[in-house]
């Protein structure tokens, strides 16, 4: 049952686990308030696993280990690689902020991030319901702790409380759904579940109940309406650096398990979950874009923007199956568009938060959109990066967000009849409303007069990573072909196996 392949499949998870434990121990000996050693070791570990995963991913092999409990395929490896890189960027952007606010008394920020990343990795490589659940719990428990990191801060603890209660409920949903599927099919293995359901000997009704609960659980993790209530409060209440962490890499994991659960395991039930996703998408686009326009707090605004974007991503996920018939070309298009969407969303939202963190360092939180007034005069570079991110989130070409929307809309339109075209038109109309609030940030930065004349300064590492990150939003926008091909290939391989 355990062979060489088994070890290979979880190599990077082991690295993360061992290093995570080691860093906890090392951190005990660190007395500096800056936590340089911990920071460096954490980044190093993440860099190593990112490299490892990129290597696996480009080899393109798919192998199963631990008696089919885990799988290593190129979709998972790319997602893990992106997650690790995202996490690195988050920690680089977040460290000055955290250190200013005395959040580095201990190294929990770094070690919890490592364990969170481990949870993400486990989720993404899972090929078994239980492993998915294990990974999910590791991820969410670390994030609850991260949100509560400033334990003497009332809003942060409130946010953590809210997050914890609602998150536990969602985990319950997911677990309940998984157990129903288990009860019906008699197996926890994703491939087996698929076969049993496909054979058609299970009562459809039980399965549908299971699907409803699974989709609800997923919707919570991927911040879809009506399971979104926690999002704005937690984004706003959590320290900005934590909001950045929980808003970025976990989305990749969410996409990963959505693929594993809905596509790999429950594809024969596509006609059922497709409708649910459509409803979630319609509601998310509506709430995310309309309520988003009313926000004056930029973190809340980004929370609503996340809701809207995940709604868009659901449109991609749901268009893989037309009229209940699985079509390989269509499926590849649809899922790769969703993957491209989620990857580019993370790529764009991370530098946006990065700029917020940067401004927040001057002794105040810089959470109101009005705090960005005249940023262009204070620092054209950071204003430019934020501007690129906002236009990208709004979906204006030639920035990367546009191609993400294009890919999803293309998949949607080509997958079905008039109903899907109508959905596409609806999504587009909602995007116009959403564009309003992204534009407002640009407006504040470029058209308004600055409140202070101080220029914005940042440590060299932050400046470098942020510039590269902002440039990527632009460059991948001009030449999105490579990343698209990568997603397409990853999905093709994942579907073929």
């Amino acid at each position: 049952m355990i062979d060489n392949m088994s070890w290979l499949a979880v190599y990077s998870e082991i690295v993360l686990l061992v290093m995570g434990c080691a860093i906890v121990l090392v951190d005990l000996g660190v007395t500096s308030r800056k936590r340089n050693v911990t920071h460096f070791l954490t980044l190093l570990t993440m860099g190593v696993v990112a490299g490892l995963e990129a290597m696996y991913a480009s080899s393109g092999n798919t192998f199963y280990g631990w008696g089919n409990m885990v799988v290593s395929d190129s979709m998972g490896s790319w997602l893990k690689c992106f997650a690790a890189v995202t996490m690195m960027a988050c920690l680089v952007y977040g460290r000055p902020y955290a250190s200013d606010r005395d959040m580095l008394r201990g190294g929990e920020l770094f070690t919890l991030s490592l364990f969170m990343l481990l949870g993400i990795f486990v989720m993404i490589s899972a090929n078994n319901f239980l492993v998915i659940y294990l990974g999910l719990e590791l991820l969410t428990l670390s994030s609850y702790a991260l949100v509560a990191l400033r334990r003497d801060h009332a809003t942060a603890t409130e946010a953590a409380m809210k997050y914890f209660v609602l998150g536990a409920m969602a985990s319950g949903f997911l677990l309940y759904g998984l157990s129903m599927i288990y009860g019906a099919t008699g197996t926890l293995d994703i491939g087996e579940v698929f076969k049993v359901i496909n054979a058609g000997q299970v009562r459809h009704q039980v399965l549908v109940f299971g699907v409803v609960f699974i989709v609800s659980g997923l919707a919570f993790k991927l911040v879809a309406v009506p399971f979104h209530m926690w999002t704005p409060d937690v984004y706003q209440g959590a320290p900005t650096v934590i909001a950045l962490i929980i808003s970025s890499a976990p989305k990749l994991a969410g996409f990963g398990i959505a693929m594993r659960l809905l596509v790999d395991a429950l594809l024969p039930l596509a006609i059922d979950w497709q409708q649910m996703l459509a409803v979630l998408a319609i509601a998310s686009l509506f709430v995310g874009n309309i309520i988003g326009t009313m926000q004056s707090n930029i973190k809340r605004m980004l929370a609503y923007s996340a809701i809207a974007h995940m709604g868009f991503m659901f449109l991609g996920l749901m268009s893989g199956v037309a009229n209940g018939a699985v079509d390989a070309v269509l499926a590849e298009r649809a899922y790769s568009s969703a993957m491209f969407y989620v990857v580019t969303y993370v790529l764009t939202v991370v530098p946006a938060f990065g700029v917020i963190l940067l401004l927040a360092r001057e002794g105040f939180e810089s959470e109101e959109i009005a705090d960005f007034a005249g940023l262009n005069q204070r620092s054209p570079l950071y204003a430019g990066i934020m501007c690129v991110c906002m236009f990208s989130l709004a979906g204006i070409p030639p920035l990367v967000g546009f191609y993400a929307k294009l890919a999803v809309l293309e998949a949607l339109v080509s997958s079905g009849g008039a109903l899907h075209v109508a959905l596409a038109v609806y999504a587009v109309l909602m995007s116009v409303i959403g564009a309003f609030y992204y534009l407002r940030v640009v407006k504040v930065m470029y058209f308004d007069q600055p409140l202070t004349a101080t220029t914005v300064s940042a440590p060299a590492d932050v400046r470098l990573v942020l510039t590269v990150n902002g440039a990527l939003v632009f460059i991948v926008g001009i030449l999105p072909g490579g990343l698209m091909a990568l997603c397409a290939e990853a999905i093709t391989r994942a579907l073929a196996s």
């Binding site: 054209p380 204006i396 293309e410 596409a424 038109v425 116009v432 030449l479 698209m484």
Partner: protein
Amino acid sequence: MAWLSLAIWVPIAFGCFLLFFSREEHAGFVRWVALLGALLGLLVTVPLYTGFQLGTAEMQFVEKLPWIGHFHLNYHLGLDGLSFWFVPLSAFITLIVVIAGWESIKERVNQYNAAFLILSGLMIGVFSALDGMLFYVFFEATLIPMYLIIGVWGGPRKIYAAFKFFLYTLLGSLLMLITVIYLYSRSGGSFDILTWQQMKIGATAQTLLFFGFFAAFAVKVPMWPIHTWLPDVHVEAPTGGSVILAAIMLKLGAYGFLRFLLPIVPDAAHQWAPLMITLSLVAVIYIGFVAIVQKDMKKLVAYSSVAHMGFVTLGFFIFNDLGISGGIVQMIAHGFVSGAMFLCIGVLYDRVHSREIAAYGGVINSMPRFGAFAMLFFMANCGLPGTAGFVGEWMVILASVKFNFWVGFCAAWAVILGAAYSLWMFKRVYFGDIANQQVREMPDISAREYLILGILAIAVLFMGVYPRPFTDVMDASVAHLLQQIATSKL
């Protein structure tokens, strides 16, 4: 040489380069680099003119490279008679704008010039793209620099205007996006415009596609009744922004009709032509009356733009060669004339800081040289023979009389109304007694202003007296387009 690519990317490269010089003390250097960029941008369009083959409707200067493999998207450029003149026109107007902003723009000079140079490249991209998605990318990308131009250097209500501009045009273009994606999936995975033009499409689909395209292009033109964003934007935009907007950006929409709507859905175009003609005539007559009562100079010229663009769409939808060529000629002429009109307003605004017609009077006394130029442009605006404004109007009126006497009769009102609002405004601003002390002390135009108004004056007169270089280029393509329109695709 890939001259078309150069025409697109030279100004963009210069624009991006300028973004690195944000400090105040670099302003002088920035201006010269911007001028160099605009000049080079214009120069690289010269080989396009000398190398253009007359008498063929084939695409010329074609460049085709794979761009996004996943969608079979190509970087596919080319020019034909329909699009040819807009490329040098864009480069030319950009040069004028860079010179015009030389002294009046003192804040964030680098970003100002960069925005215009980048915008210029993007607009040339729109006119030369032969790939539907490439067209869309350029078409949409123009929103970003224009939004910043209006919002950063605009007037008191600039923010309202910038948002209105962005959201109106974004809404229109996104509906076109769905249309383009639909065509893509229908054609079996091709974004090639020329392929789309060959496709058979059913009647219902044609109608839907028609309105998808209509949404984008009619907002951009802008046609009545979705023109309301234009006066607001013109009033608030800085002079350069107004010039680019009126001279080139409005043409993006009209050009879209020619490149997409007419050849791809000809049957729907025939079916809905009465609607389009009606909307155009409303624009010509009703907006003409609206223009008369304006108190703000910029608003007046903005409404006059709407009316003139109504002429363009009228010409397109009466489906004969005179009408379509007339429409295109009118587009080019309007580029020169409206650009010049907005520059004249800018000259006055720099001196008095007011755009109210009532704030002026007797300008000709203190600025005789300027008055002479302004006179020429006003005459061109009302379509006086011998000026650029005359050629297109005359062609469209003639075409519409051929098409239907009453349509021609209504269209001819444009000339009367155009004369009415132009001349009345000219009288109130330039003639009469000197209204106030400020006007008395206005210095006449500087050498720089003399230069740009002079160049434009030559262009306006040249086009009015000898329009053949303009019409020769488009003849073959217009004939080809008419043939496409006449062929049913049902």
